[in-house]
């Protein structure tokens, strides 16, 4: 085993209500195996006991230590200092609290909003009465276990929520982690409140923009966006679709139709098919009033089908 060491400067974004926000630097010698949680523990016990951060399991199962390292949202425990030095080619490393959440003290953020989102999806199994009374026993296919376990491994770290652009704009969107949790119960064959779950999840699922930030930052590879996609794919079972759900489905169908007939996404056609003529006209007038009508109309006029559309049709029918 190599005993190579690194001299590192950690620039930490600190905050307290008394002192406000400021950067502080710490020098520390680490080896190639030093986790960020251990680096923080050493700074706290050897240099500055006042540094505040959360950390517990140091093995990426408790979700306590989400923070930004050189701007990247990461679990501190699952990140080696040497890995960041090698990646960025620099021994100066910044550490900041996660985005989106209000900061309480140094790297500690307020998770209240995150927990509220998680509890909105009724994060628990509602099994059949017979099973609860011990009169019956669940069976679960190994492939179902594997499929559900993928999404059940969410550790509530909040990293996905910290990067999600939609939750900042749309109060009705539940957020990526809650969707992963919700989908895990929605498709658990042992659950009994499927209609209610659709009511909670379906509308919100159609509010995601598929930016894939949650997919990139998740330290457990949960793929919250995949849970959202799979929830959308079940929309045909939704008993009372909301406008958002209804338009979402139409939008998907319009995109598929546009590609099938023209080989590309004809924006104006997709818009028209999704929202209908009168809403489209209204929106056009709104855009024209805002002084953007000219460029919109010229972009519509420039939309032309690709060559060899018949090949694409074959793929669709294939």
């Amino acid at each position: 085993m190599s005993v190579q060491t690194y001299e590192v400067i950690f620039r930490i974004r600190r905050y307290s209500p008394e002192k406000g926000s400021y950067w502080q630097e710490y020098k520390l010698t680490v080896d190639r195996f030093t986790q960020f949680t251990e680096a923080l523990r050493r700074i706290k016990t050897e240099q500055d006991p006042s540094l505040a951060y959360r950390a517990s399991c140091h093995m990426a199962v408790c979700g306590s230590c989400g923070m930004k390292i050189n701007g990247e949202p990461r679990l501190a425990c699952k990140t080696l200092v040497s890995g960041i030095i090698n990646k960025y080619g620099s021994n100066v490393i910044t550490i900041e609290p996660m985005d989106y959440f209000p900061v309480i003290k140094d790297l500690i953020v307020d998770w209240e909003d995150f927990y509220t989102r998680m509890f909105k999806v009724k994060p628990r199994l509602y099994p059949a009465k017979e099973v609860l009374e011990g009169k019956g026993e669940h069976r679960l296919k190994p492939e179902d276990q594997r499929r559900l376990w993928k999404f059940a491994q969410c550790i509530w770290c909040g990293l996905c929520v910290s990067v999600c652009p939609v939750i900042r704009e749309d109060p009705e969107f539940l957020g990526p982690a809650a969707h992963a949790k919700g989908y895990r119960f929605l498709t658990d064959p042992r659950d009994t409140i499927t209609d209610e779950r659709f009511k909670i999840l379906s509308d919100s699922a159609w509010r995601c923009t598929y930016c894939y930030h949650c997919f990139s930052v998740c330290p457990r590879d949960i793929e919250p966006v995949t849970a959202i996609k799979k929830t959308r794919a079940l929309t045909k079972y939704v008993k009372e679709p909301t406008n958002v759900t209804f338009n979402g489905v139409k939008h998907s169908e319009a995109i598929a139709g546009s590609i099938k007939t023209t080989g590309k996404i004809m924006e104006s056609l997709v818009y028209l098919q999704t929202y209908g003529l009168s809403r489209s006209l209204k929106d056009l007038i709104f855009i024209a009033k805002a002084g953007r009508g000219g460029s919109l109309i010229s972009s519509i006029l420039e939309e032309k089908p690709v060559k060899n559309v018949s090949e694409i049709k074959k793929l669709f029918e294939g």
Binding site: M1, S16, P17, E18, F33, Q35, T37, E38, R41, K44, T45, E46, D48, P49, S50, L51, A52, Y53, R54, A55, S56, C57, H58, M59, A60, V61, C62, G63, S64, K78, L80, I104, K105, I108, W111, Y115, F119, P123, R124, L125, P127, V131, L132, G134, E137, H138, R139, L140, K141, P142, Q145, L148, W149, A152, Q153, I155, W156, F185, D188, D191
Partner: protein, 566 residues
């Protein structure tokens, strides 16, 4: 000071605390769950390999609960209370199926029933598992269940300082919200201590940073005993050098330990069970190999999975592969994993019987790793800790409900007591100079690892005692540099250190007193088990700076001590 009224305060929101909470709240009583962390961040989440259970109709046809009890009793080197072990085995099947019914995603057999695998010290395979994140899977399931109950209030990120007692009777708990440091007196008729273990006392541990033994020390300060404090488990396969646990599941699935010469050295130490011998035996074997020059430079051996095949390893040992990759840069599918022992579990704990009740203080209950029901004796078997948290969490909950039926309302004579306890805590913040907690805590962890670890002897233990006493003196002059009234983690770390120092004194004194080797307590100066003199539980009290050690008999039912060979 604000007062919050509850029937019961549960300290700790891991599996044991939540299971007790479930039972007590379901009986209609009001419960406050106080935890330093949000429940899913409790150390139960770190348990990997599985939970042992004899499930009728879904176990080896030759197995039965008596074999399971026998394995537990023998694994614990006969320091196990056999009534407790019997209860553990008998309830194992239905508690696993209860968690299954609440949604736990146990790995399955092709027919849809819960799957099973081998773990160390088992005559027949009994370990049920959720990948290799069984603890995390169970903790989330149980928290999800309990979070839906009406009678439960969660006080997450609250720090409990001390029990408040009135003539040896619980009247409540004093706790601070970490965010704003406001103290609240939680008035209650009973307290369930489920604060987990104390791994942070040791330089090398697989435990979470939060495992500072708070519950043990609170019990000691209130006048309750710690039972069998000298028994500390060291897990043989912590990843070198970061001490992340590589689950025993790896060896359960066929992984082999090898020394630097490539030898399967366990053939020398446990010719029959080999790599699946109990943890104390394997840990000593590894350090013996290293000491005799057959380890790798730096002091480790390797755990070889490579012959198991990529697909099998990835499905059943995903976390081990991930840990080796993330924390040591090793591809476990093609290279052996570097491992060495690290502190892992505490067999000792607050003295309770199979009802979870402590005999010293009326209204004091404990469950899980914080308790010593004496189900693990001198060495815990793998897969029995998750099982203990749930089975004895439930038993304790049931007996708290019984206790509450006749319990008196707590008296109002708490004011002076709570103010005094709060002053004791704030003494650390008020000092204007001295050493800060970090210097003391790092020394303490070195002392415990060097002298109160896998191998012990009189000289080392005496040395440890004098060092610990010195550190306790230093802590008296400890000061907190951060005067902030918002999430002052330095203040809480200082209070954790106070707890660690109290417990360290008790562990070391008891280890010095026990002049034999049994299970995880190995004295190089007394290398043999001595049933004639030492087949008894240590009962240790802390009176100021003095540890008072007494003993009580082990409860035997059907299994007579025999040599422990594997």
């Amino acid at each position: 000071m604000d007062i919050a009224d509850y029937d019961v305060v549960v300290l700790g929101s891991g599996l044991a605390g939540l299971m007790s909470t479930y039972v007590i709240a379901s009986a209609g009583y009001k419960v406050a769950v106080i935890s330093k962390v949000f429940p899913t961040r409790s150390h139960s989440a770190a348990a990997e390999g599985g939970i042992a259970a004899y499930i009728p109709g879904n176990s080896d046809p030759n197995d039965n609960p008596d074999y399971m009890t026998y394995d537990t009793v023998k694994g614990g080197d006969y320091l196990v209370d056999q009534d407790a072990a019997e209860l553990l085995s008998n309830e194992s099947g239905n508690i696993v199926m209860l968690l299954e019914s609440w949604g736990a995603l146990f790995n399955r057999q092709p027919d849809g029933r819960v799957a099973v695998r081998y773990f160390g010290g088992q005559t027949y395979p009994r370990t049920r598992f959720i990948g290799d994140k069984t603890g995390m899977g169970l903790l989330h399931t149980l928290f999800e269940r309990v979070s839906g109950l009406d009678k439960v209030d969660f006080y997450n990120e609250w720090f409990a300082l001390d029990f408040v007692t009135d003539s040896n009777r619980i009247v409540g708990v004093l706790a601070l919200q970490m965010k704003d440091m406001e103290p609240v007196f939680f008035r209650s008729k009973a307290v369930v201590v489920a604060t987990g273990g104390m791994g942070m006392l040791y330089r090398h541990t697989t435990n979470s940073y939060i495992n500072t033994g708070d519950g043990y020390a609170m019990a000691l300060r209130a006048g309750a005993a710690i039972k069998d404090p000298e028994f500390v488990q060291f897990h043989p396969t912590a990843l070198y050098p970061s001490d992340v646990l590589i689950s025993e599941a790896a060896r359960g699935e066929g992984a082999i330990l090898r020394n630097a010469k490539g030898e399967r050295f366990m053939t020398r130490y446990a010719p029959k069970k080999l790599d699946l011998a109990p943890r104390d035996i394997v840990s000593r074997a590894i350090f013996t190999e290293v000491k005799e020059g057959r380890g790798f430079p730096g002091g480790y051996v390797v755990l070889d999975l490579t012959h198991l095949g990529e697909e099998y390893i990835k499905e059943r040992l995903a976390l081990a592969v991930e840990a080796a990759k993330s924390f040591a840069g090793i591809d476990a599918i093609t290279e052996p994993i570097p491992v060495r022992p690290a502190q892992h579990y505490y067999m000792g704990g607050i003295d309770v019987d199979i009802t979870g009740r402590n005999p010293d203080i009326v209204g004091l209950f404990a469950a899980g790793e914080a308790a010593c029901v004496s189900v693990h004796g001198a060495n815990r078997l793998g897969s029995n800790s998750l099982l203990e948290t749930l089975v004895f969490g439930r038993e304790t909950g049931k007996h708290v409900v019984e206790f509450l039926k006749n319990a008196q309302e707590p008296q109002s004579q708490y004011q002076n007591e709570t103010e005094k306890l709060l002053d004791d805590a704030y003494r650390f913040v008020k000092s204007e100079s001295g050493v800060h907690f970090g210097e003391i805590v790092n020394k303490l962890r070195d002392v415990m690892w060097d002298y109160v670890g896998v191998f012990r002897d009189e000289g080392g233990l005496k040395n440890a005692l004098s060092e610990i006493n010195e550190l306790r003196d230093m802590a008296g002059k400890m000061y907190v540099t951060d005067k902030s009234k918002v999430y002052n983690t330095e203040f809480f770390n200082a209070l954790e250190l106070r707890n660690m120092l109290d417990l360290a004194l008790v562990i070391t004194t008891s280890a010095l007193e026990r002049k034999e080797s049994r299970g995880a307590h190995y004295r190089t100066d007394y290398p043999e088990r001595d049933d004639d003199h030492w087949l008894k539980h240590t009962i240790a009290y802390l009176r100021g700076n003095t540890v008072e050690v007494t003993y009580k008999p082990v409860r035997m039912t059907r299994w007579k001590p025999e040599p422990r060979v594997y």
